[in-house]
Point group: C2
Chain length 99, copies 2
């Protein structure tokens, strides 16, 4: 399994709206092919910065299947207007979890 | 609970040694005050980049208690020589986990 990290800086004052938008868009991820998990974290040091963690069976489930689907536009409709800039996206793989 | 993200770029060729060093240092975190979880993820796009996720009861358990302890030096002894540069550290708090 791979974890997509989308680092998203939102416009100051849009934090609550962004969080509502992600919650509203959760079903979009839930039904996406190969999508296994969705969570949202907020930065302590920079409270306009969020990280959306999305678990995928393969990187292509995200980059090809999801981004190529109508649901990607649906996701952006919920939250895109809150973005300060284009999100920074990276994929990672767990090496180990000790405890 | 807070999640510390330490983004660590290691010197090319030091990946296996770094991973072994983190494994060896896991008990250091396990015994740290307020430390509740430890996992390591590796970037797909930039394979010399890792993210160490450490769960803490409070941010200060990390920034004051852990960094001020002898065990912080112990941790660095295991992995410090693998660092390409100073790790980038941020703390986050989970907003929600949908699935």
């Amino acid at each position: 399994m791979f974890v997509e990290i989308a680092q998203i800086d939102v416009k100051p004052g849009m934090e609550a709206e962004f969080e509502k938008g992600v919650a509203a868009a959760a079903p979009v991820f839930k039904r996406a092919k190969g999508c296994r998990g969705l969570s949202l974290h907020r930065s302590v040091e920079k409270p306009t910065r969020y990280r959306l963690y999305v678990d995928w069976d393969t990187v292509e489930n995200h980059t090809v299947d999801f981004r190529g689907s109508a649901d990607f536009q649906e996701w952006r409709k919920h939250v895109g207007h809150c973005f300060q800039e284009t999100p920074y996206v990276e994929h990672t793989k767990q090496v180990n979890k000790w405890f």
